[in-house]
């Protein structure tokens, strides 16, 4: 008992330390803004340590509920319950640790920025909100924190206030999330109307399955679509790369976007078979489209963003096929290697920006401007390549294990007889194939090949940027997850639960990855001429239509189609919708101004006309007055008598 109290307090401490960091950062005067760079990471370190301590200490199958009533309306309670269970115990250290590393990294990365205060405040606030999602045992509370992470994401994407692009990206991110959240909210309302509670304890442990659950779960899934950038709402994520790179690492790769997958796992019992099928299809479609898009990007961060979307799609598919555990595993591994990749990209950007300060209009994020950096940036290169290998799913890296378990689950799910589920399986194989291709392409262009002019003055960034990279990279190796590089069973499975395993699938996927690696090597490394031609052709394209002409190869062609769909149709639809909305709004305003208003004016006018009619008897002629008066009487007379 005594121990449990300690756990409660510790959980509270872990949750609230980032909030304290947020408040402190706000309250520290601008003059002392350097203080925040010390205070915030320290507080996060404390939070991280507590989380790791809890992770170690709390027994695996604990489900500890801390009841807090937030408010109540009549007999209905709105609780702020905190539940410490296997998922939260896994997520807490994950979130805090990556957050801490990003804090650390940001100290170096954000040097000289005049919005440091705001930046660290929002990082702290984000961490707090994210922990809130993780710990809440209440659908409403999850929604609240869900919105709050959206807000911090908004603030951090728009951190560079003077940049118009970042402002519009921030707005876009928030609104896309809001659209998803509206669905989430409807889901919440359905749950409320049927159960009058938001406590997941009660909702998830219902004795039977009700028909409303399909609707409710699909609506909640809408929230996931928004937050985890699933098809068709994923376009905000590439744009969100306008924010500082550490933010992209923390929020738009490792944690926030993964919150959707977490939520799916959290409320998994609520999902019915029908809704799960929708989830799986959406996830697979996202994974495929995003992978194709990633293959077509030149911006280093956008490649990573699309790859994130694609990986999130994988996770969602995993949940959809009923293997939430596999999704959680991939979420964990992905968090580390993707954070590492982003931070690595960040340190490349940082180094190149320092080196090319004098060069104008130099886009450091364009991989075509990069090359041969492996010698200049050895640490970055080393960590980057580990994380990239993990992303590509090369055996002996964590990504392989997690992706393998996802594919295995889909394999089992798709069954032995042919059905549409096989298509999904094929799609996932294609995705993991393409993943290797774009990962290889990215790594190759950045670190291999000839050293560019731009790379001449590049030096390694300071240690504070490199340490997080090393830590994250080390977490991307297989033994971080399990002892066996081909089998997921390890600490994770003991914590979360068993995962499907099949040697057949493992070997197929391993073989596929190797095949893909070879293909990629063949395309990008062996046939260097092709890369050159690609680069030469690229110089002529800054338009999408021209871009289409470039691509002769089927994959690239497909990728272009995907992007066109993305830009022209989905984004275009949103734009059209937005334009339509704005023009409707204008019509409405016009209506307001001329019809409704003028009807009021018309009434006034009518009153005036009536007035001038009654006045017209008043011409100043006394005899007419008398006539009208007497005539009035006579009219009365006839009116009554006849």
């Amino acid at each position: 008992m005594e121990k449990l109290i300690t756990i409660e307090i510790l959980t509270g401490a872990a949750l609230l330390t980032p909030l304290i960091s947020f408040l402190l950062c706000l309250l520290i005067p601008v003059r002392f803004s350097w203080v925040v760079t010390i205070v915030a990471p320290i507080l996060l370190l404390i939070s991280t340590s507590i989380s790791i301590y809890l992770f170690v200490v709390v027994p695996n199958n604990t489900s500890l509920l801390i009841s807090i009533e937030w408010f109540h309306v009549a007999q209905y309670s709105f609780n702020g319950n905190v539940e410490i269970n296997r998922l939260s115990i896994l997520m807490m250290p994950l979130v805090t640790m990556i957050s801490f590393l990003v804090h650390l990294y940001s100290i170096g990365y954000m040097v000289g920025d005049n919005g440091t205060k705001r930046y660290f405040a929002m990082l702290g606030f984000f961490t707090f909100s994210m922990l809130g999602i993780v710990l809440s045992d209440n659908l409403l509370m999850i929604f609240i924190f869900w919105e709050l992470v959206g807000f911090s994401s908004y603030m951090l994407i728009g951190h560079w206030i003077e940049k118009p692009a970042s402002a519009s990206a921030a707005k876009k991110a928030f609104i896309f999330n809001r659209i998803g959240d509206a669905g989430f909210l409807i889901g919440i309302m359905i749950v409320w109307a049927n159960t009058q509670t938001f406590d997941l304890q009660e909702i998830l442990h219902m004795s039977e399955i009700y028909s409303w659950q399909t609707a409710a779960s699909l609506c909640i899934f809408c929230g996931v679509i928004g937050k985890s950038a699933q098809f068709p709402l994923f376009t905000w994520l590439p744009d969100a790369m306008e924010g500082p790179t550490p933010v992209s690492a923390l929020i738009h790769a490792a944690t926030m976007v993964a919150a959707g997958v977490f939520l799916l796992s959290r409320v998994f019992p609520l999902f019915t078979d029908a809704s799960l099928q929708v989830v799986a299809v959406v996830g697979a479609a996202t994974a495929l489209l995003a992978a194709l898009s990633a293959l077509n990007q030149f911006d280093i961060k956008k490649i990573l963003a699309y790859s994130t979307i694609s990986q999130l799609g994988l996770m969602v598919t995993a949940v959809g096929v009923g293997s939430a555990n596999a999704a959680m595993l991939h979420l964990t591994t992905h968090a580390f290697f993707k954070a590492c990749l982003f931070l690595g990209a960040g340190s490349v950007i940082y180094a190149l920006q320092i080196a090319n300060r004098q060069t104008e209009n130099f886009d450091v994020q364009d991989i075509r401007n990069l090359g041969g950096l492996r010698k200049k940036l050895p640490t970055t290169f080393f960590t980057f390549i580990i994380a990239a290998a993990s992303l590509a799913g090369i055996p002996f890296f964590s990504g392989f294990i997690s992706k393998d378990s996802i594919i295995t689950s889909i394999w089992y799910w798709s069954g032995n007889t042919f059905s549409w589920r096989w298509l999904l399986l094929v799609a996932i194989f294609v995705v993991s194939f393409i993943t290797v291709l774009y990962t290889f392409r990215m790594v190759w262009f950045i670190f291999f090949g000839k050293e560019k002019q731009s790379a001449s003055a590049v030096t390694e960034p300071p240690w504070i940027l490199r340490v997080p990279l090393l830590i994250l990279a080390s977490a991307s190796v297989w033994f971080f997850i399990a002892w066996s590089p081909f089998n997921p069973s390890g600490w994770f499975t003991t914590l979360i639960g068993g995962l499907p395993d099949s040697i057949l699938v493992t070997s197929i996927s391993g073989g596929l990855v190797l095949l893909a690696f070879v293909t990629a090597w063949f395309v990008y490394t062996y046939k260097k001429t092709q890369i050159k031609s690609l680069r030469i052709l690229q110089n002529g394209f800054d338009l999408d239509i021209a871009y289409q002409k470039l691509v002769g190869q089927s994959t690239v062609q497909l990728a272009t189609v995907a992007e066109t769909v993305d830009r022209k149709w989905i984004d275009g639809f949103i734009h059209v919708a937005a334009y339509a909305q704005v023009s409707v709004a204008h019509v409405v305003l016009w209506f307001d101004k001329y019809i409704i208003d003028s009807s009021v004016n018309a009434v006034a006018w009518l009153a005036g006309v009536a007035g001038s009619f009654t006045r017209s008897f008043q011409a100043g002629k006394i005899q007419l007055y008398i006539f009208w008066a007497v005539a009035g009487l006579i009219i009365f007379l006839f009116f009554i008598l006849i």
Partner: protein, 497 residues
Amino acid sequence: METGLSETLELITKSILYILPEVILAAGIVTVILIGLATKNKSQNLIVWVTLLLFAASLIFTILNWSLYTSPVQLFAGMIRSDDFSALFKILFDVAGILTVLMSMTNDEIRETKFKSEYYALILSAVLGAHLLTMSMNFILVFLALELLSISSYVLAGFSTNKKGAEGSLKYFLFGSVASAIMLYGFSILFGLTGTLDFSSGDFVDRLLNNQTPLVFVAGLMTLAGFLYKIAAAPMHPWAPDVYEAAPMPVVAFLSVVPKLAGIAVLTKFTLAINLFGQSNFDWQIILSIVAILSITVGNFSALWQTNPKRMMAYSSIAQSGFLLIGVVCFSIQGIQFMLFYGSVYLLVNFAVFFGLQFFEKNNVNSIPSFSGWGRSHVMVSVVMFIGFIALAGIPPTAGFTAKLFIFTSLWSAYEQSGKDILAWLLVFGLLNTVVSLFYYLKIPYYSFIKTSEKIESPKKTNPENYLALVLVALVLLLFIRPDLLMGWLNRINFVL
């Protein structure tokens, strides 16, 4: 026959006590004229104070006379009747007289006229006419009192020293003469039908009941024409705007209150009789409702685009007649009580507004747009006028609202009892017109407070009459907060009509 004669004479001598206020006023007319002759009209103050004194005496005796009777008393062989109903009106007339005199004291046109004593004598005689009109129970006296009131008013309306004054006076005269002639014709027919001139007598009602022909209706309508002309209700209203525009401000204030209330008093008595206590074949309720609807609508809508404040007030007074008529339309004691309440409030409010208008007139503010900006330099008087206007419109927190509320309530209960659609329409029109009336009632406050103007002349300081207006407005506010002060009093009155 001989003994009867002496008894009659004795009764007459006794009756004189009951008409002491009227005697005072009548004697006052002569007194004022004589003072005027003696001082060659030079001593304005003496005349004014004597007139005030006379009105005050009349007022006091009217109140004191109340103790003389517990039930209505027939006087002068049924010519007049002293009762609570008329006593109340008489008080209102005397108050109006006092206020008119006070207003005249500072009016430039009246101060400059050569006929001060005549002016005040005419006011006295007009009030005397009003007194007699409310008391009279006989067509002869109705006719005489009405003419006394009218002829005084014709001359008063022309007291302006300009062209327009003469024109207004002429128009008033012509219209009034025709109206009273028509009324007289009605009287003559009613006399033929009933053989009596005493319209409160049982004979009058009985004989009409037994002889209900269309002619009764024609005669009644002709008679009403005269009364409607007095209260300036449609369709007998067209004279009002022209006359109001031409007349001096105190006269306008006087005309908008005293003849109107006197007319409504006699109209009430007459319609109660002609309606034969509800047994008439002709629905006088409908006639009066139509008149009320017409008056309210015509008055309000015509007032909308007026630029002359006096003219606007003329139309407003037409509309207010319509509202007063609603009280009569109900044909119930509550209706009449509420009408009295309405009338009292109307008197106070109207005088408050006219005090304000007179102040502005002195400062050459003669059209509504020229009120621009005055609200800011002359806050008190503008606020007083503003409260007056919202009271006329019937918005809380003024007794105007309470009065309208009461009037509509009695109308509603009349509707509930009779179920006549016309009453519901009257209610609807009344309410809608309340909105319409805001358009013009708020015009002057709108200009004076919200519009700005560069050229505001140097204010004439110390205007005692403005404080008087303030008192009136305060009374209006008080009557809103405690309407039972007046209503309680009205309730206690024994209304035998």
